[in-house]
């Protein structure tokens, strides 16, 4: 093993320190946050090399320049480390969501842009995306520290708020009329469930016959079109070419990200 890759300090470190200082962290707290970033990066490398089953805090210790004690100072267990990857993923997904919002279109088109962003992340960072799924498994949740669990809940709450806002805007601009017994929360949740279910099944069951037989690129769009039509969210898919919206989102918002995929 080459030791060159160990302890890759420096680079943007000074920059990072400053931006963290701005949000009110002490020097030692900054150091800890930076180190955790570093360790999460290393964990991703190990998973890419040896699979999720190959990740252990033992190996993470060996690959880093810290001792076991320090590693356990960050992660209370291997599963806690996995949850840290999950939080990294959710946080990045939220950033992509916010970028998707600037798409110039109807509220339903904006929702399509957000779903595009979700699926894009699954393609850009398959390992981190799968970490989200892994962290939903009870065995992982059980061993995640309560502090980190709190952070996860906080991010989940933010994602929910974000999703709710999409539907509130739709109701506000008149393109969506709330049926009886339907709340913003209900629609927002169904939207999330469909997206999550589609992406997980599409990613995890790719090899199996079930998903194989479908075109993964348009799969998510078709599913959410069905759902949004069911909500009677205008314009309906029969009156608007959302396939075209999907392509426009790709071109107008996420062109560089897509480029990095083909390199």
């Amino acid at each position: 093993m080459s030791f060159d890759s160990r302890c890759p300090h420096g680079g943007f470190k000074g920059l990072l320190d400053k931006s963290l200082a701005r949000i009110g962290l002490s020097k030692s707290e900054q150091k800890k946050v930076n180190r955790e970033e570093e360790l999460v990066d290393l964990a991703v490398v190990i998973i890419n090399e040896q699979g999720f089953a190959g990740l252990s805090l033992e190996k993470l210790t060996a690959k880093s320049c810290y001792s076991k004690g320090t590693i356990y100072n960050h992660f209370s267990s291997k599963e806690d480390c996995l949850s840290a990857l999950c939080i990294r993923a959710i946080s990045s997904i939220l950033d992509l969501f916010k970028r998707a919002l600037i798409f110039d279109g109807s509220s339903r088109e904006k929702a399509v842009a957000v779903h595009y962003a979700y699926q894009l992340y699954a393609r850009l960072q398959p390992t981190l995306f799968m970490a989200v799924l892994s962290s939903k498994a009870p065995g992982v949740r059980e061993k995640t520290s309560i502090e980190r669990m709190g952070v996860m809940d906080k991010f989940e709450f933010e994602i929910n708020n974000f999703s709710d806002a999409l539907f509130r805007n739709a109701v506000a601009d008149g393109s969506l009329i709330l049926a009886e017994h339907m709340s913003i929360e209900t629609l927002s949740f169904s939207n999330w469930a469909m997206s999550f279910g589609t992406n997980v099944l599409a990613t995890s069951a790719k090899e199996a016959t079930a998903v194989n037989r479908l075109d993964p690129n348009t799969l998510l769009l078709q599913n959410i079109n069905l759902l949004h039509d069911g909500m009677n969210w205008h314009p309906l898919s029969k009156d608007w070419d959302y396939q075209n919206t999907w392509r426009r989102v790709e071109r107008e918002i996420f062109a560089e990200d897509i480029q990095s995929l083909s390199i």
Copy 2:
């Protein structure tokens, strides 16, 4: 620890042997199948007592009357054992699905009955249901034996066929008209994705704010109503009381199963 519970042979054993013999297994193969059933039961007990994180083949060995070698003869790893629980779950779910089909109603109502069955299983056997989720995590899949992976694929294929049949029937009886660019497979997959996504998020995020704020009982029905309305599957939810269908399914098909929940 009491040793009374160890090696609970007997009971329906003779009966089981005979039914297995009918499908063409030798005596020793029968024995192995029976033992695996027993071990899966024991694994569920351990998980119920100590959580998913508490399961190990070490403990399974201790709780059973077999040696480590024999346990590893059944399960190539702890994760392989988890996948065995997953297969047990899928197989039971398929049985419930078949029972749901006998519900007397329109093709869309039959689909509602099938979703009812899915959600019922999640309530009847939360541990086994969560095992399905666990087995979707990459770390578990990676350590599942190829033979068991094959069995899982076979069951997934059966579930798919079952779901496809629901939609084929709907097209056949004229209540569902396939839109352009929509295939039976697409609709079937979206149906599965919605159900899976809803049940997983409802089960795993129960504590979190997101799902808390919704009524879990009607959540799944609302979500699939939106989806089926989006497919334009008649009768639409505005023209038919599917809440009532849901209650009828509960009463007419699954009354005893629900009873066992409240005991």
